[in-house]
């Protein structure tokens, strides 16, 4: 693209037209402004008068300059100027856009997409075929080169993967590249990998390689570990540089099940340190709820670390039967305590005291009987997911629990006594353990040779015994049995928890068996033996941006795969579960570190910053229009036409510039505050200036009357624009109906309906009672029907003689205005309103009528001018003055009715009213 001073031009040849400007200058200079043609009878007196000077038959230089500038900006505008146009050499031949597509890309993914988009746009201009590939998912087979603009459409679908490229897959792909020649644009995520160098070498044999890389460091969060003094959170960064403080937040569900931030801690990278560590100490209850840690503000799977059982400290209740004498090593719980201590919280006590703490596991070591009162709560607790772990012992052997019938708190029926093997008084050798069967939770654990069982409790054989045995001795007798109850389980070790009956508690197998039973939790580093032979399914999966993605359709993953290391294709980072256990697969391992990618000197490494192309065409054309507008004004001024047109100009300027200011001058709030500061009556402006001024004067007159006679002291009447003004501040809206009135918009009708429902009153005055009535429909009446059609108006009736309006302040039976028509319509009384004998009016405790419709032109009767004089005559002579007085009284009644509601409708006032009525 042709460019001058950073501004490129889409159609540079148009700029040649600029050369024609001087010619234009000469042309314009010679042509004076066109004269005004004016009809003027006095022209005869002008004949023979010569002009003093002849200067203006040439266009003045400033007008010329204005026009030249306008034309120049038109030319430049149509030449398509573009600021920051990319002026790179586009190159030729196929282009491969290679994206790392890892989690480290995610924080800046949009910028990468923009950059790729820009590259595709350039390629499209140069008609280069382009292919797009992610290293985390290298294409299979040939590189699919296609048209750049087609590819650009698919670009929004491109997402990074939450894992690292697999070196093996990359090697395979690079080795099988069939294309001979292509250039490569490598959009790197900025992290160093061993596989990069080899791939770069292969790509460079095919064509030039350009690298694009972000200059921001990559941050990642390592899995949190549980230490003695709390949870240790550590983060790494790719570029050790200045001191930097990141915030790590811990998220989890609160007691109401809503995920929220549970804790946050600042993590400070020291200068030139690539790793930073901070310890977070939290109450156990809070800590158990943490489901993930995140570096705040970084959208990347690497900045998210899911927590699994490793962090979860199970609460284990240890129950021991009765008092015990003897050394500590002989305690039934000693070995359990040792095994569980590093990873669990233990509580001790009696069973009834422990249950309310809702422990994860209750260990009953050689406790034979559970009292009947405790049995039910314990069973409920198991059904809710508790694990009851029982160990045999002398007491259990001696009791008759679960002999005849299976005790619900034991997995199997037991034989009385138990057996001792390999003792001094017995035959045979102590037994070893049989390898674990595949359906056992212990499958995959290796059985040490030196574990010997010398005594055990025997299970009563039965049809269901086999499925309950999860570990057995070499002779097939059960060692561990399990029964599932509800969501929980009861597990019985048929040996003691101490080394009295077997050496099992002394071996490492004991700990692992406890882990497999989810009694204890696994230490943070996953041990392959623990995972071997299991299948895990994803509960929670993360995408590269660190957000939770749908995990339901992911296939199961073998434990070996999890044990092998980080996530990869088919195994996104997430939380995987197998049975009771949960394992978190995080992008960043516990000992991972990040380092910056180093590229050879010979490569171009570009930043990601795309200075966006700004198309200046519109600006130039707008400038030309403005200049031409100025030219119009200047020409008018020059020809003397500006002066008579000044009014028009002012109006136009007003419309163009002051339109916004005007709207501002009467902002809704200000209007509402002004109207609401006092009681003020609104009137709908009809657009007929005369009617509006009469209405205004009428309401002014009514306000004066109210101020003189009542305690209502209204402010000035306010003209209401139904389209924009707040209506709720008016108790009363006076709406004169003229035949030429425009109906309000739908939105305005909405507001009117809201006003009516909110207790407002609209007085419709058709101003035509002198000509309408007796079945005559005037144009005003017809207009009224059209105007009120969308309004939410209840059924109406002629104002009954006992309506509250007849006695709200004055006792009235006529409601004349300037005309004395009889017909005034109000909301109809309820049909069940009955007149009680002796009462002058019915009991109509209903609402204030939302509308009042009449045609008596009340406003004219009320209207007073500035000096307070009546503006219009009413009737004739004294009778007319009486009519005016009645009109005012009607106005007072109307306002009183609006302001006090049907207060005067209350029967309390009956005696006083009867007195005044003289009845």
């Amino acid at each position: 693209m042709f460019s001058i001073a950073g501004i490129g031009f889409a159609a540079p040849w148009l700029l040649v037209a600029l050369a024609g400007l001087p010619v234009l200058w000469l042309l314009l200079r010679a042509v004076p402004p066109a004269p005004v043609r004016r009809r003027f009878p006095g022209v005869t007196l002008l004949l023979g008068l010569a002009d003093d000077e002849t200067q203006t038959d040439r266009t003045p230089w400033w007008l010329l300059l204005l026009r030249m500038l306008a034309v120049a900006s038109l030319i430049v505008g149509f030449a398509g100027p573009v600021l920051n146009s990319t002026v790179d050499d586009p190159g030729t031949g196929p282009l491969l856009v290679l994206v790392d597509g890892t989690w480290a890309d995610a924080p800046d993914w949009n910028r990468r997409i923009e950059r790729i988009d820009a590259a595709l746009a350039d390629a499209a201009l140069a008609a280069r075929p382009v292919a797009l590939a992610r290293l985390t998912e290298p294409p299979v087979g040939e590189i699919p080169f296609q048209a750049a603009d087609a590819l650009a459409k698919q670009l929004p679908n491109l997402t990074p993967n939450p894992w690292e490229p697999e070196p093996a897959a990359l090697e395979r792909w690079a080795a099988n590249l069939t294309e001979e020649r292509f250039d490569t644009l490598w959009v790197s995520d900025g992290l160093d990998r061993e596989s990069r160098a080899e791939l770069l070498r292969i790509l460079e044999t095919r064509g030039t390689v350009t690298v694009m890389e972000d200059d921001r460091p990559v941050f990642a969060l390592r899995p949190a570990t549980f230490g003695q003094d709390g949870i240790t959170v550590s983060a790494v960064r790719s570029r050790p540089g200045d001191t930097e403080v990141m915030t790590v937040v811990a998220k989890g569900v609160d007691p109401r099940g809503v995920e929220r931030q549970l804790a946050s801690v600042d993590l400070e990278f020291a200068e030139a340190a690539g790793i930073s560590e901070v310890t977070l100490s939290l109450p156990a209850e809070l800590r158990d709820r943490i489901s993930r840690f995140e570096i705040a503000g970084i959208r990347s799977a690497g900045a998210v670390s899911l927590t699994d059982d490793a962090l979860r400290r199970r609460e284990i209740a240890l129950v021991e039967a009765g008092s015990r004498e003897g050394p500590e090593l002989m305690s039934p719980l000693h070995y359990l305590e040792r095994a569980l201590e590093p990873t669990t919280d233990m509580i001790r006590g009696a069973l009834p005291d422990l249950l309310p703490a809702n422990p994860d596991v209750i260990v009953l070591a050689d406790v034979a009987t559970v009292s009947a009162a405790e049995r039910r709560p314990v069973l409920d607790w198991i059904e809710r997911g508790g694990t009851l772990l029982r160990f045999a012992g002398p007491r259990l052997a001696a009791s008759d629990v679960s002999r005849r019938e299976r005790d619900p708190l034991l997995p199997v029926r037991l034989r009385a006594g138990g057996r001792a093997i390999g003792g001094a008084m017995s035959w045979g050798e102590p037994k070893v353990l049989r390898a674990f069967p595949p359906d056992s939770p212990f499958f995959g654990l290796s059985v040490p040779e030196d574990v010997r069982v010398s005594s055990q409790l025997l299970a009563q054989p039965g049809p269901d015994l086999a499925e309950r045995v999860i570990a057995s001795l070499a002779d097939g007798t059960p060692l561990v049995t399990r029964e599932r109850i509800g969501r929980g389980q009861v597990v019985l070790f048929h040996v003691t928890a101490n080394a009295e009956w077997s050496t099992l508690p002394l071996s490492g197998l004991f700990v692992r068996m406890l882990e497999r039973l989810a009694v204890s939790t696994r230490p943070s580093d996953s041990e392959p033996p623990l995972l071997r032979g299991t299948v895990w399914s994803a509960d929670v999966a993360l995408d590269a941006f660190g957000t939770v993605a749908d995990a339901s359709r992911l296939a199961g993953v073998s434990g070996d795969r999890i044990a092998d290391g980080g996530p990869g294709p088919g195994m996104p980072p997430g939380l995987y579960s197998s049975g009771e256990r949960r394992v978190a697969v995080n992008v960043i391992g516990a000992d991972a570190s990040l380092s910056e990618a180093v590229w050879p000197e010979r490569l171009d490494v570009l930043g990601l910053d795309v200075s966006p192309e700004t198309v200046l065409k519109g600006w130039f054309l707008a400038l030309a229009v403005v200049l031409l507008a100025l030219d119009v004004v200047g020409s008018l001024w020059l020809t003397g036409r500006l002066v008579p047109a000044s009014r028009v100009t002012a109006v136009m300027l007003g419309v163009m510039l002051v339109g916004g200011v005007q709207a501002e001058a009467r902002s809704p709030d200000e209007f509402a505050m002004q109207a609401a500061s006092r009681v003020s009556f609104g009137y709908v402006s009809t657009g007929d200036r005369r009617v509006d001024s009469i209405t205004r004067a009428g309401l002014k007159g009514l306000s004066d009357v109210l101020r003189n006679r009542t305690s209502v002291e209204p402010g000035d009447p306010v003209s209401v624009d139904l389209e924009s003004d707040e209506l709720s501040v008016f108790p009363l809206l006076y709406w004169p109906v003229t035949p030429m009135q425009k109906p309000p918009s739908d939105a305005a009708y909405d507001r009117l309906n809201r006003f009516l429902r909110g207790g407002g009153m609209i007085v419709f005055d058709t101003l035509d009672a002198d000509i309408a009535g007796y079945g005559q429909i005037s144009p005003n009446g017809r207009r009224l029907r059209e105007l009120t059609l969308p309004l939410d108006i209840p059924p109406l009736e002629l104002l009954p003689s006992d309506h509250v309006l007849t006695r709200a302040f004055y006792l009235l039976q006529d409601f004349p205005g300037r005309h004395s028509g009889r017909e005034v319509w109000v909301e109809a009384a309820p049909t069940d309103a009955r007149k009680i004998d002796g009462m002058p009016f019915r009991n109509l405790n209903d609402n204030v009528t939302p509308v009042l419709i009449g045609g008596n032109d009340w406003a004219s009767a009320w209207a007073v001018d500035e000096a307070g004089n009546e503006m219009f005559p009413v009737g004739r002579g004294m009778a007319g003055e009486r009519q005016r007085e009645l009109a005012r009284r009607f106005g007072v009644n109307l306002v009183m009715n609006v302001l006090t509601g049907n207060y005067k409708s209350d029967q309390v006032h009956v005696p006083a009213l009867l007195d005044r009525l003289g009845q």
Partner: protein
């Protein structure tokens, strides 16, 4: 069909305008309360002039018996001589009179017609005989005359750019009223006035001007055209001409006044921005002047 509709519309339009003009003129005339003018000498009339002793030759029926009964001689009641005056009115209805500088302001022609009809109504009420000079009808003192004048004035103008006073019948000793803007050639006017002076016709010249014509508020490059388009003048800087135009206009006024003076006429200038009433008052007093 269309032509007929057009004709009817025009006719209705005309019929609607005629009473308007007349009513407005009469309304204007009614604002002036003037007495009937006597001749200050005895003669035929309705008003009492004097009692004089009866002389020989007086008919017996002329004797005022009621006055005579109070003395020994017979008295004759003489009445003031009231002679009706003929007034000829010329209203310039050329194109130049159709000018108005503002939509709300009446054209000069409107104002001239209104003044002419109003003064006619006044004169007819006072018993004078009135005629339009260019109509050629003899002066009459009747409401019918007023109607026909109104009709004639409502019709289209002459179509020429600048009007020339056109007097078809000029009875001696009559009065005349010329209403125009006198923007055209002043020579025919002078001739007419000379002719009128010869026949002892006195009268008044009322120059009706639009305020714009006095102020000349134009500026810039302008081509001025007369209303009929026959005369044009182009200027590059209209503002520079203002002073010279105003000078010329006042010279024209002075010339008119001198011409009127020479013929024993009166001259006044009226602006359409002013009220018609003052002009009417001037016209009436000018025609009243000097028995």
């Amino acid at each position: 069909m269309n032509a007929r509709v057009g004709l009817r519309e025009q006719a209705e339009d005309l019929a609607a305008r005629l009473p308007d003009l007349l009513a407005e003129a009469e309304h204007l005339a009614r604002t002036l309360l003037l007495g009937s003018h006597g001749r200050r000498r005895s003669g035929v009339g309705d008003e009492f002039w004097q009692y004089r002793p009866a002389r020989a030759g007086d008919e017996a029926r002329l004797v005022d018996w009621r006055r005579s009964a109070r003395s020994d001689v017979h008295f004759v009641r003489e009445k003031e001589w009231q002679a009706a005056q003929s007034v000829l009115i010329w209203i310039d209805r050329s194109r130049s009179m159709e000018f108005s500088s503002d939509r709300d302001r009446p054209t000069k022609c409107d104002r001239a017609r209104l003044l002419g009809l109003a003064v006619s109504a006044l004169l007819i009420r006072a018993g004078e005989r009135v005629a339009l000079a260019d109509l050629g009808t003899p002066p009459r003192s009747s409401r019918l005359q007023l109607m026909s004048m109104a009709e004639h004035l409502s019709a289209e103008g002459s179509g020429v750019d600048y009007g020339i006073p056109e007097i078809k019948v000029l009875p001696p000793h009559a009065r005349a009223l010329f209403i125009s803007d006198f923007m055209g050639d002043p020579e025919p006017l002078r001739e007419q006035l000379a002719r009128a002076a010869d026949r002892n016709v006195r009268g008044a010249l009322l120059q009706v001007l639009d305020p714009v014509e006095e102020v000349f508020p134009y500026d810039g490059r302008t081509v001025f055209r007369s209303m009929g388009g026959t005369v044009t003048h182009e200027t590059l800087k209209a503002g520079d001409l203002r002073e010279r135009y105003v000078d010329r206009l006042s010279a024209r006024k002075a010339q008119l006044e001198a011409t009127a003076e020479a013929a024993g006429w009166l001259y006044s200038c009226h602006r359409t921005s002013g009220t018609a009433q003052s002009a009417l008052l001037w016209i009436y007093s000018a025609l009243e002047r000097r028995r």
